[in-house]
């Protein structure tokens, strides 16, 4: 039964990989890297695939919970995955948002402070935190789209100032909270961890919102040639503004997840350096830093790949001090495989042979 399950999983995975290759889907390369990593673990890290079904509860209701390393990967990748969804759209318009980590801290600080100091209801706390993220996004969008400041500089401002703002909100304290609803965001399970479900829902909703409407098309057009798109009557300013606001919103969700997960708002450490992981996920996913075509699901796969790498490294007892090196090498390989120049080189070698 177990063996059959494993075989079915790998067959489905292989078929999916084959399909993405056939349809020249960009998600192929990050997926292939992820699959290779899993195969490596299948052989060399026996405990990696040990899954366990446990009894658990979700607000009093009995629900099953899956435990195991792959589930940990999904759980931990969710924060970066959520960030990557927003970051993909920002990068697609030719921008970048360095402030997402700081915005995570602001959102977390907002939620915790309102809940503990003002004893507001959880729903209000969550909405206020999301609102803070949206306002942060509007600030970035204003600087980039309206004032015309280069995105790197504009978002650097909030990246630096954001943690200060978060400190102001928490009054320099680490605020610990116990509200069951707030702590469940980052800790509860509905068979799989709630953060993962949040990421999945965000991905699907974003995909629908960009592809069922023309927003995705216009984002790609603005990212590919902003001047031409503007001259064709598209308000490129509002498109850019919109994606920065959305990116701030995503950062706030990620902030809620992490704050909830550690049950405290630590303005100095929440979301620290995650902006770089998010950018990396998008790049691995195949969206060009210069803007244009974007691939949401592929970015999320990129986030999963980064986390799977990290987890594998821990499972193999690689010291956390040197772990970034092999991680960087794998990421480099994926990026190289996506580079036009390397592909052309490989193609010419193949033709010559």
């Amino acid at each position: 039964m177990r063996i059959a399950g494993i075989i079915v999983f790998w067959l489905v995975a292989l078929a999916f990989l084959y399909w993405t290759r056939r349809s020249r889907n960009v998600v192929f390369w990050p997926l292939l890297a992820l699959a290779c990593l899993l195969v490596f673990n299948l052989f060399f890290t026996p405990q990696f695939f040990r899954l366990e079904l446990r009894e658990g509860s979700f607000f009093g209701l009995p629900v099953a919970q899956l435990y195991g390393v792959p589930i940990d990967v999904l759980n931990h990748a969710s924060k970066v995955g959520i960030l990557a969804v927003g970051m993909t759209l920002v990068i697609a318009v030719g921008g970048i948002d360095l402030s997402v980590g700081a915005v995570m801290a602001i959102a977390g600080a907002m939620m915790a402070t309102l809940s503990v100091q003002l004893e507001l209801s959880p729903a209000v706390c969550i909405l206020a935190a999301l609102g803070a993220g949206i306002i942060a996004g509007m600030w970035n969008g204003f600087l980039v789209a309206v004032m015309g400041i280069p995105p790197m500089v504009a978002t650097l401002i909030l990246m630096v100032a954001g943690r200060g703002v978060a400190q102001l909100i928490t009054d320099g304290q680490i605020i610990i909270f116990n509200n069951p609803i707030l702590t469940s965001i980052g800790n509860a399970f509905l068979l799989v961890p709630v953060p993962f479900l949040l990421m999945l829902v965000l991905l699907i909703v974003t995909w629908l919102a960009t592809r069922v409407t023309a927003v995705g098309f216009l984002i790609e057009a603005v990212g590919d040639n902003e001047v031409a798109t503007h001259r064709a009557g598209v308000s490129s300013q509002s498109i850019k503004f919109l994606v920065y606001v959305f990116c701030g919103f995503c950062a706030a969700i990620a902030g809620l997840v992490q704050t909830s997960n550690i049950r405290s708002a630590d303005a100095n450490n929440i979301g620290l350096r995650l902006e770089l992981d998010a950018i990396m996920s998008v790049v691995i996913g195949g969206t060009a830093m210069t803007g244009g075509r974007f691939y949401l699901a592929s970015s999320v796969v990129g986030a999963l790949l980064i986390q799977a790498l990290t987890t594998t490294m821990y499972a193999k007892d690689v010291s956390p001090v040197v772990a970034p090196v092999p991680k960087a090498l794998v990421i480099l390989a994926v990026c190289l495989l996506q580079s036009e120049r390397v592909r052309r080189f490989l193609a010419s070698r193949r033709d010559a042979a």
Binding site: V212, T213, F217, A221, D224, A228, G233, S235
Partner: protein, 516 residues
């Protein structure tokens, strides 16, 4: 003067996804000779030049220089082998000075320190060899110089390298007549000094002005090599488009206009202007009429168009559509009034290069609908297919990336983008620039068809012939000011030139050649 062949291209082949851009093309060049490369858009001229200068690797064939086989890997690499190229868009470094650009990458050094005095002297020597009638300031920043000067700097650079072969790819597209004349004089001087020159251009007159030999390409294939004096102009055109001479004669016929009086006014401008762009100007544009805008480079033609379309909004005067006051302050707003505009620089502000032909066609339509209501994909496909067929756009499929199409076909896609939104006023800024004779005739035919359907058109072109041929009324601009309006029997190329030249002929020449 030695007349031996020293550049030999044999059986050059190059394929792009879905297109065979070059099919076993051969080409040769001799010392001390100007060799013109002619062909329609998509004939493979640019591709041939790019293979020769190492921008793309060729898929087959041999390049021989001075009897040795060479494989250029990049334009810089080709330069070291003695092949220097001057593009339409000059590929020098805008923020460096003229002298730095001429010697860039080969500065004289002493222990790693650049010896600026020597660099400066070398640059001056190279410029001197051009034998110019005016001075070029070696310390001027390149971006402050006119395109003509920038091209001359690029040529001077070629001289400093001791290039054996100079390739001029559409050098005159952005030049006015006086500037082009100066360029031809330089070409003749260099030819006498024994340099081989390859000249790519769309202007057939210019081919005959300077060329000794003509090689014609069509659809990526070699049609033949001819001696310029033995190939009459009409025959050259017929070889380029692959039609016989009689058919070509028909293409060149001038359109006759029915009377335009009594037509309904669509747009009227009163004292419309913008500081630093165009002085207050009055004009009206009517239904079913093509109005031309003529003037030299920098006379305010594109500025007027940008004013109307809200790219650089007016800061004075009034604009009315159907008697209603309007203020187009952005292209999006202008589109709501029923304006459309084909921009001058296709690459910079026309195409969205990595998106498909379909997406490029529906872009303006989608912009008009706003981001939330998407055009259903079946409808988008229909629209794209319909325009690909109607305008005879040559593309393997509607999903092809537009950057893989030839210039003329890209231009047709952008026209389709505007036709899809049914504008009342369509502004065409240089619609046939960088486009071959065949596509040009098609686009001109289209302009007349749209006029007959009642559209109002504003046509800008630096080719007076084209403006005169297609417009029933021409607004003549000089120094950012409207001088006069010509129509009916008064409207000839000669009359326009006379108006432009009436006062400030010398000033105009100096103005455009000067390094600011």
């Amino acid at each position: 003067m030695e007349n031996d062949t020293f550049l030999e291209l044999k059986g050059i082949t190059k394929a792009f996804p879905g297109v065979l851009a070059l099919d076993k093309v051969s080409f040769s060049a001799k010392r001390g000779e100007v060799h013109a490369l002619c062909g329609e858009n998509g004939a493979g001229k640019s591709t041939l030049i790019k293979v020769l200068t190492g921008v793309y690797p060729g898929d087959g064939g041999k390049i021989g220089l001075d009897g040795q086989t060479i494989v250029p890997t990049s334009p810089r690499n080709a330069e070291t082998k003695g092949i220097s190229t001057v593009y339409q868009e000059v590929n020098l470094i805008p923020h460096l000075t003229v002298a730095e650009n001429i010697c860039l990458g080969r500065e004289d050094r002493l222990a790693g320190v650049i010896r600026w005095r020597r660099v400066w002297k070398r640059a001056a020597a190279a410029i001197k060899r051009l034998d110019l009638k005016f001075d070029i300031n070696l310390d001027a920043q390149l971006s402050d110089c006119s395109i003509a000067i920038q091209q001359m700097v690029a040529i001077a650079r070629a001289l400093d390298i001791d290039a054996k072969l100079l390739i001029l790819d559409e050098p005159t597209s952005s030049l006015d007549d006086a500037e082009a004349e100066e360029l031809f004089r330089i070409m003749r001087t260099l030819r006498e000094q024994g340099m081989g020159i390859v000249f790519v251009t769309h202007f057939l007159d210019q081919v005959y002005r300077v060329s000794d030999h003509i090689t014609v390409l069509r659809n990526g294939e070699l049609v033949g090599e001819f001696t310029a004096v033995e190939l009459p102009r009409l025959e050259l055109v017929s070889k380029m488009v692959g039609k016989n001479v009689e058919e070509v004669k028909k293409l060149e016929k001038r359109v006759t206009f029915t009377s335009v009086s009594g037509r309904k006014t669509v747009v009227s401008a009163r004292r419309l202007g913008r500081k630093g762009a165009i002085n207050p100007i009055d004009f009206t544009l009517n239904e079913g009429e093509v109005v031309g805008l003529a003037g030299l480079l920098g006379s305010g033609r594109s500025e007027t168009a940008n004013l109307l379309f809200g790219v650089d909004p007016a800061d004075s005067g009034e604009l009315e559509i159907d008697g209603r006051r309007i203020r187009p302050d952005s292209p999006a707003r202008a589109m709501r009034y029923g304006f459309g505009m084909l921009t001058e620089d296709r690459k910079f502000s026309g195409i969205v290069p990595n998106l498909s032909v379909r997406e490029n066609i529906i872009l303006a339509m989608q912009a008009k609908l706003g981001p939330w209501r998407k055009i259903p994909s079946r409808r988008a496909n229909e629209i794209a297919d319909q325009f690909i067929k109607a305008l005879d756009i040559k593309t393997p499929s509607r999903e092809q990336q537009i950057k893989n199409l030839s210039g003329g076909n890209q231009q047709k896609v952008i026209i389709a983008r505007w036709l899809a939104v049914h504008p009342r006023l369509l502004i065409l800024d240089e619609p046939t620039r960088g486009i071959d004779v065949g596509a040009k005739a098609e686009i001109e035919g289209l302009i007349q068809k749209l006029r007959e359907e009642g559209m109002s058109l504003l046509l800008i072109s630096s080719e007076l012939e084209e403006v005169v041929r297609n417009s029933s009324r021409v607004i003549v601009l000089r120094d950012r000011t409207k001088i006069t309006e010509l129509s009916g029997d008064n409207l000839t190329e000669r009359s326009i030139l006379e108006v432009i030249a009436s006062q400030a002929k010398d000033d105009a020449t100096k103005e455009t050649l000067k390094c600011e």
